[in-house]
C-alpha cells in the first residue's frame, strides 16, 4: 500500500476511535492530531468524554498518573490537567508554550521550593501544586477557553 494512503488510513482509524490510541499525549495549543500523534511517553489508556462545548480526553497511565486534555470545537487543545505521584513531562504537555513557562520560572523573584505556584504570562496560565508523591496542576490558554465555561471546570 502507498505509504501516504496507509498514514491516512491510520489517522482515520485512530481518529475515529480514541480508545485505539492507547499511547497518547497532546500539547497545549495543538490539534486533535497532536493528541494522537504524540505517543509512547505515558503508555496510557485514553477515555474520551464529549461535552456540549468541548471534549475531554483523559489518559490514565502507570501508577495512577493522569493527564486530561480539553479540546474546543475548533479542535484545539485549550487546557491540560495532570495529577499523580510525579510531574508529567511538561515540555511535551505545554508544547509551544513551554518556552513561555520556562521563561516565567527563570524570572521568578523567589525561585526554589514551592508547593504551589501560579504563572500567568503571555496568554498562558499554569497552576502547579503538590509535593513529593502527590502532584497536580493545570495549564490553559484563557483566550481559547469556550465562552461561558468557568475555569473551575478545567479539572
Amino acid at each position: 500500500m502507498h505509504r501516504l494512503a496507509l498514514k491516512a488510513l491510520l489517522i482515520l482509524v485512530l481518529g475515529t476511535n480514541p480508545l485505539c490510541a492507547s499511547r497518547v499525549q497532546a500539547a497545549l495549543g495543538g490539534d486533535a492530531a497532536s493528541v494522537l500523534a504524540d505517543s509512547a511517553e505515558m503508555h496510557g489508556i485514553m477515555q474520551s468524554t464529549p461535552l456540549q462545548q468541548y471534549d475531554i480526553h483523559e489518559i490514565t497511565a502507570a501508577s495512577d498518573m493522569r493527564v486530561s486534555e480539553f479540546l474546543n470545537r475548533e479542535g484545539i487543545v485549550f487546557a491540560v490537567t495532570w495529577s499523580g505521584p510525579v510531574v508529567p513531562d511538561l515540555q511535551r504537555l505545554l508544547g509551544a508554550h513551554f518556552a513561555t513557562y520556562s521563561r516565567a520560572l527563570a524570572a521568578l523573584q523567589r525561585p526554589g521550593l514551592h508547593r504551589s505556584l501560579r504563572i500567568a504570562s503571555d496568554g498562558l496560565i499554569v497552576e502547579f501544586a503538590g509535593h513529593l508523591r502527590a502532584y497536580n496542576g493545570r495549564a490553559y490558554l484563557p483566550a481559547l477557553v469556550p465562552s461561558g465555561i468557568p475555569t473551575a471546570d478545567i479539572r
Binding site: A62, G112, A129
Partner: protein, 408 residues
C-alpha cells in the same frame, strides 16, 4: 578561693551523680539519653541566596560512609516537613571537601533523580552519607546530591519541565532536609511501575539516562526513619514572633523522636491528631466551603497557601504573588480532618495581613498568605510560630499511635 567556688558550684551535681549511681547499683546502668535536640534558625538565608521569607534552617553533619574525618557541617539546610529525604548542593559539599559515593543499580549504572519543587527541578545522583544531627545518626543514608557543578550526567529532556534549581541561589538554601510523615521520596510507585516513572534514572558513564524502577531501600530516604533510636517522628518547636509583622531571626528547636525521651512526649490531652493518607496528606475545607482539599503541615512553605479568588494577589513590591487583602488583616478559617483511624476535626482561625506593611528585610512573618490557584491547602511556616508541631512517620508507633500523622 577560686577552687572553692568551683567546688561549690559542682557540689550539687556531684551529689546528684552520687544519687544516680546509688540508684543504678541495684540494676544495670542505663545509658545516658541520646541528645535529640537540634537548633532551628529562621533567618535571611545563606549568603549566596539572601532575602529568604519564612525559611527554617538547620545544620546537618554528613560524612563519607564509615569515615570520621571526611565530614562537613552543612548550614542553612531547609527544614521541610513537606518532603522526604536529604538533598545537598554539590558545590557546598565540595567546599567542605566531602565527595559522597554515588549509588549504582544492579547493572552498575549511576542512580540519578529528577525531583519537582514547583519552582523547578533538582537533578543529581543518589549518594550514600552517614548523617548526624544533634546526637542522632544514621549510616549509609541514600541522599540526593544536587548537581550544580554538572559533574555528573546531564538531566534528560523529560526532567527539564521548567528550570533547574540545583544551586544555592536558585534553591534558596544549601540543601533540604525532608523530614515529613513518609519514609521514601517516591515509594511504591517507583518500585513496580510497568513503565518506570520519570523520577529515578539509571545513567551510563557516557551520560545517557533512562528512567528505571528503584527498590525502596535504595530510594532517597527520610534520615530520621533510619536513626537507630528516635526514629518514629519529630517535633518542630518554634516560638511566637516578637513582632508579627517581621522578626529578623527566630530560634527554635527540632526534637527527634516521639514519646521516646522525657523531652518528646505526645501530650495525653489537648492534642489534635490528624492521620495522613499514603501520600502524606489529611484533608481540609476552607472558609466554610464544600471543596475537600488535600492538606499538610509544611515547614517548606513560607505562607499559609490556598486558593481564594476573592483575595487579590500583590502585584508589586517584594511579595508579588502573595495575598494583599483589600481590608487587612483578613480573618479566615479552615477545618482540618484526619484520615483513617485518627480522624480528628479541628477548626483553625488565622489572619492574612498586607505584606506591604511588613518590616523591610525581616525574615519571619506571622500572617502571610499565598497560593492562588492551588488545589491543595498548605499550613506553611506561619502555622508553626507559637506551636509544637508533631510529625509521626509511617509504619512507626509513637505510644499508642501509628504514623503517618500530624499533630498540634
Amino acid at each position: 578561693m577560686r577552687l572553692k567556688s568551683i567546688l561549690a558550684a559542682l557540689l550539687p551535681a556531684m551529689l546528684l551523680a552520687a544519687c544516680i549511681n546509688n540508684n543504678n547499683s541495684k540494676g544495670s546502668v542505663a545509658p545516658p539519653p541520646v541528645v535529640n535536640v537540634l537548633t532551628v534558625i529562621v533567618d535571611g538565608g545563606p549568603a549566596a541566596a539572601p532575602g529568604a521569607i519564612n525559611h527554617a534552617y538547620v545544620t546537618v553533619k554528613v560524612c563519607v560512609p564509615g569515615s570520621q574525618s571526611q565530614c562537613t557541617n552543612v548550614d542553612h539546610v531547609l527544614l521541610d516537613t513537606g518532603s522526604f529525604g536529604l538533598r545537598l548542593v554539590r558545590s557546598v559539599l565540595d567546599a567542605g571537601m566531602v565527595t559522597l559515593p554515588a549509588k549504582t543499580d544492579a547493572q552498575g549504572l549511576t542512580i540519578e533523580e529528577c525531583v519537582h519543587f514547583g519552582g523547578g527541578q533538582t537533578w543529581g545522583p543518589v549518594a550514600l552519607a552517614d548523617v548526624t544531627m544533634a546526637g542522632e545518626s544514621a549510616a549509609k543514608v541514600p541522599v540526593q546530591v544536587m548537581d550544580d557543578t554538572a559533574a555528573g550526567a546531564a538531566p534528560p529532556a523529560n526532567c527539564v519541565s521548567g528550570a533547574l534549581i540545583n544551586d544555592v541561589a536558585g534553591f534558596g538554601a544549601n540543601g533540604v532536609l525532608g523530614v515529613g510523615v513518609l519514609a521514601q521520596d517516591c515509594g511504591p510507585a517507583c518500585v513496580n511501575a510497568t513503565t518506570p516513572l520519570p523520577f529515578y534514572y539509571g545513567c551510563t558513564s557516557a551520560g545517557t539516562c533512562t528512567a528505571e524502577n528503584i527498590a525502596l531501600a535504595n530510594q532517597v530516604t527520610n534520615p530520621v526513619f533510619l536513626f537507630a533510636s528516635e526514629n518514629n517522628g519529630i517535633i518542630v518547636n518554634l516560638p511566637n514572633l516578637i513582632n508579627a509583622n517581621g522578626d529578623s531571626s527566630v530560634q527554635g528547636e527540632l526534637i527527634f523522636g516521639l514519646s521516646t525521651q522525657t523531652d518528646n512526649p505526645l501530650p495525653a490531652t489537648g492534642l489534635t491528631l490528624l492521620g495522613a493518607d499514603s501520600n502524606g496528606d489529611f484533608t481540609a475545607t476552607y472558609n466554610g466551603g464544600t471543596t475537600v482539599m488535600h492538606a499538610l503541615i509544611d515547614s517548606g512553605t513560607g505562607s499559609y497557601a490556598f486558593d481564594d479568588p476573592t483575595i487579590p494577589a500583590c502585584t508589586s513590591g517584594s511579595f508579588v504573588g502573595y495575598y494583599c487583602p483589600v481590608v487587612p488583616p483578613q480573618s479566615v478559617f479552615a477545618v482540618n480532618r484526619g484520615v483513617g483511624m485518627n480522624n480528628a476535626v479541628s477548626t483553625v482561625n488565622f489572619a492574612i495581613a498586607d505584606p506591604n506593611t511588613f518590616v523591610p528585610n525581616a525574615a519571619a512573618f506571622a500572617n502571610l498568605g499565598g497560593g492562588a490557584g492551588s488545589r491543595n491547602f498548605t499550613w506553611g511556616m506561619p502555622f508553626f510560630y507559637g506551636r509544637k508541631i508533631y510529625i509521626g512517620i509511617e509504619q512507626r508507633a509513637a505510644g499508642s499511635v501509628t504514623g503517618p500523622f500530624y499533630a498540634y
